[in-house]
Subunit: 337 residues, 2 copies
Amino acid sequence: MSLAHYRRELLPAIEQALRDAMAPANSVGHEALYGMLAYHLGWEGGKAKPRAAGKRIRPTLLLLTCAAAGGDWKQALPAAAAVELLHNFSLIHDDIQDGSQQRRGRLTLWAIHGIAQAINAGDAMFSLAHMSLEGLLKTTSRSIYVTAAGLLPRTSLHLTQGQYLDLSYENINDLSLVSYWPMIWGKTAMLIRACTQLGAAIAGATGRKLKAYMTFGEKLGLAYQVHDDLLGIWGDPKEMGKSAHSDLLSGKKSLPVLYALEQNGEFAKRWANGGVPQEQVKEFAQLLEVEGAKEFTRSEAARLTEESLHALAMAKPLAEAGAALTEFADELGRREV
Amino acid sequence: MSLAHYRRELLPAIEQALRDAMAPANSVGHEALYGMLAYHLGWEGGKAKPRAAGKRIRPTLLLLTCAAAGGDWKQALPAAAAVELLHNFSLIHDDIQDGSQQRRGRLTLWAIHGIAQAINAGDAMFSLAHMSLEGLLKTTSRSIYVTAAGLLPRTSLHLTQGQYLDLSYENINDLSLVSYWPMIWGKTAMLIRACTQLGAAIAGATGRKLKAYMTFGEKLGLAYQVHDDLLGIWGDPKEMGKSAHSDLLSGKKSLPVLYALEQNGEFAKRWANGGVPQEQVKEFAQLLEVEGAKEFTRSEAARLTEESLHALAMAKPLAEAGAALTEFADELGRREV
């Protein structure tokens, strides 16, 4: 089965698992809060589905890893729902923290319901992520459940540590390139690693095999974020659902920017004058390119994807699912663009 | 042992359990985020301890219940830390949602660090609450851990459902008295019930005995919130760390206010004119009293405390710890003021 074939099978199962995981919130008297969560997941409200739902990258990765490690991915569905809900909880809070009014072509929750209710909706989704894991008691073993119930909050602690750094970097002018890595390690890579770890563990992987799947996820998570930083400046605005060069406009200290700041060239000089005005955003992006930031970022994404695929090979995945997983990893981290 | 004796033994053990539970967040490179959490818990920063720490009501209740049900309360310490961290996570977010700049005589986290970082700090504490439960694997059994790991996120889902109602009530003018109960049931009573449930379960209580402890907690939680509403208007400002009649000034739809609005008398008429001006707050409080709202609230707290103590008696607690627990419940819910 190709990746496309797997996707056709996995995606509807993921949506159903998410609905199962969300069910405890859909109770009499609490429809309005449930509606906020369902809106955020792309199920309800204007312009719902499929784009508004996001790509379900994390649960897909978890299930594919489970299959590649020789497991029955259906057993992993409660964990797949949990990582997607954890991811979406963090997005709801991120949008407040960043002041983002748009996500996936629609208004964000806080833009509609205000900050107070959106914080609370995120907290509800956080709770549901943890509750979803209980499904593993039925599909797998108590021992797997205990592993997952310990891993999920540890992963979300890493998320908050990465997010702390990200938010604090906004106020630091002389940020160095090395500061970038612990931030995306916590903010992105740990959750991606949790996906491959859970998928492999549910398939019964232990010891060095499990470790290899974890390294695969960790490196892939780093690659994915680096590639995302590339798209944040040079991605197709239509495909991103954002304006062109949006990360430059928002002043985000992404990898290309940190690289260029260390070069201390023309870009760094103009950046220091305070922000990127809308009418100069194209020029700023060109400066980044001329000063090597685009090429550096691209090569970092490629290097990290290579490293992740090397770890995956070490794990000796099953031929068919392993090939689909390799294809998926290439898509996320881009060995070459 | 009297309640005072128990407290002298329990409180230092609770602080230590909290420090153990917080330890995973106190890692190299993440000291600043840890510092925010430690500040909120009253351990660091200006005017720290003991008042800034709060009263540790929930962990005390959990441990006392464990002792009263015949268990070794030391085994329950990881759960005690978890409920206190869950409570404090919700306080951090509550303060943002309510725009409260002060808590326990000090600035709130968001007032110091801004909304974005305070949301994130709350999320970190939420994660730590769940992680703390893992300690139960060492002190109790895997089966108890599984129960606790399922109960904690379910409790926090209830918290968010209650909080949703509370926030939405701000915009409803013709709110009826019955709306009050589902709000405080989710927002306050479910966490108090989780305390007595966990304490009793760790002591080995099952079946009707466990149910009785749960009813005890649920009723006590309702009583505690009703009594808190009484204090929010008529409590000693010095003891509360707030201005006099603070709940009236903030426009909170607490039980006395909802009662008086249903009476549709002078208070309701003046309230409908929009808010309580600082210079009229005393008059508004007197109107509430004249119209029976204070007496109603007091009697509701007394009734619910009675009901909770009735359930406690049904659970047949051990003599000594049971007496301390009764004393504690009286203090929280006030059988008579």
